[in-house]
Amino acid sequence: MEILELKEVHKQFGELKVIQDLSFSVMEHSVFGFIGKNGAGKTTTMKMILGFLQPNAGEIYVSGEKVTYGNANTNRHIGYLPDVPEFYGYMNPKEYLKLCGEITGLKKEQINKKSEELLSLVGLDGVNRKIRGFSRGMKQRLGIAQALLNEPKLLICDEPTSALDPIGRKEILDILSVAREKTTIVFSTHILSDVERICDSIGVLDNGKLILQGTVPEIKNNRRKDTVQIEVANLKHTKELEEKLKKLPFVMETTVVENCINIQLTKADKFGMEILAFLIKENIPVMRYEIMEPSLENVFLEVVG
């Protein structure tokens, strides 16, 4: 079932068209990576899903219910982590979660139980300091705890890792990996290694339009350039080998970088074998043979650039 659905959503601020004809849907129990440059419209889209901004046209559905601007009832299905979460600095984490729990209408025992569970999940158990003294990473972790408190069907995280150091990033991704077992996650970012780590499917937003959508393996497969890389042991062989390879009928192009030869062919999975056979026949010592995977970064740069 679709937990989130956007239909032909448009949004402009004055003359500036931020979102144009944006349609996509997210299936339940998946992790959707929402990728785009700074200013691509990621936060705007999320705020529209939460009913904080009014779309100029189009409709948004959360768990089958339509989102209305200003008083979004659909928010009871959503846990939201803003890019820079702000808290009441005079409270400690427990008090803050208590407030959030009471607002969502949880019972006292539930709040206590869930708070303890979540605070230990995000590594803030036993922290009784006031929130005003928290580091950015700690605030981000508390942000996830408050977002997960009402066991939302949909967890929306706006660039949860962008402002953090590598350790903080890893911690957040680990927490999200645990959270994905219970909820659907929509997660915006421009850090592509994070996407590869935890997302099932992605959507790339550029100039207010979704220009690429699909599962990560699907996208990589579709965008695969059939390239084979061979690393040979002896530099002497490279020139000679290149000449010979060029004469093969399925080889389109070759390039040599130090002792690596990149070969572009028509179909890597099919004719790759023939290259291996050829190498054995020619008796060339090979250190490495690899069918090159397109990195998400290359895909991103290609579609956005």
Binding site: K47, N73, E86, C100, G105, Q146
Partner: protein, 254 residues
């Protein structure tokens, strides 16, 4: 309703932990103390001064002087304190972004406004009550024959006026943005009401009436029945201000 109670509790906690409660209680307790004391001491201070032969005839201070001081203090200094303490009650949350998490949890926006108003009004009421009681007790102690007319009603008028000023802050904050927009607009609105008060025909419709005729009520030159009209109008205006600020707040970008 659960959301309302939770958010109101949060407002009270905020008042305590950000020292708003302390400031309000101290300042208004001081007003209550100072007013009768100043009224009592002023003639003595003046008579003790060397006036180079000029004869000053100073009438002996009465309880009326104490109340005159009290209403003047609350009306001037008290108003400024209210503006400073409550001026940022909505705009602070909007500029900092602390409401984002809360609203994303599904708390209706009108609850935010109503909770905040109830909490602010409660703090104003308690502070004012302390001030009035201190003033009453001290006046009774310092002055013989301290009875005045319509005391409760006169105090009630000023109390309602305070509630009106609070609702103006809410409306102004919902109308404007930034840190001080609400504060400035409230000051402008109050200034305009004072200007309108110049016209005698407008006085009876003006909430300012509630804060400017308290002494006439005490002396009995003005009967409470004549204040009913501005009183009712002020209550209506409070409701209108709050309702409008809820409508505006619903359209606010968060």
């Amino acid at each position: 309703m659960k959301g309302f109670i939770a958010f109101t509790k949060k407002e009270f906690m905020e008042q305590i932990r950000t020292y708003r409660l302390l400031i309000m209680l101290c300042v208004f307790f001081l007003f209550g103390m100072m007013s009768p004391l100043l009224a009592k001491l002023t003639p003595e201070i003046l008579s003790g001064m060397e006036l180079q032969g000029i004869q000053l005839i100073i009438p002996e201070a009465t309880a009326m002087d104490a109340y005159s001081q009290f209403f003047q203090n609350i009306n001037e200094m008290g108003l400024i304190v209210i503006l400073l303490v409550f001026g940022g009650i909505i705009s602070n949350e909007l500029t900092k972004g602390t409401l984002v998490n809360i609203l994303a949890k599904g708390l209706p926006r009108h609850t935010v406004i109503l909770s905040k108003y109830v909490a602010a009004f409660a703090l104003w009421t308690v502070s004012y009550l302390i001030s009035a009681l201190t003033n009453y007790g001290y006046t009774a102690y310092l002055f013989e024959n301290s009875t005045v007319k319509n005391l409760f009603f006169s105090l009630l008028c000023l109390w309602l006026f305070g509630g009106f000023v609070l609702s103006l802050i809410f409306l102004s904050s919902a109308l404007t943005g930034g840190n001080f927009g609400g504060l400035i607009l409230t000051a402008i609105a109050l200034g305009s009401l004072l200007l309108i008060n110049i016209f005698p025909w407008a006085q009876k419709f003006n909430p300012i009436y509630l804060s400017s005729h308290n002494l006439e009520l005490l002396s009995g030159t003005l009967s409470p029945s004549e204040v009913i009209k501005p009183l009712v109008i002020t209550i209506l205006l409070i409701v209108v201000c709050l309702y409008t600020s809820i409508l505006l707040f619903k359209k606010k970008k968060i």
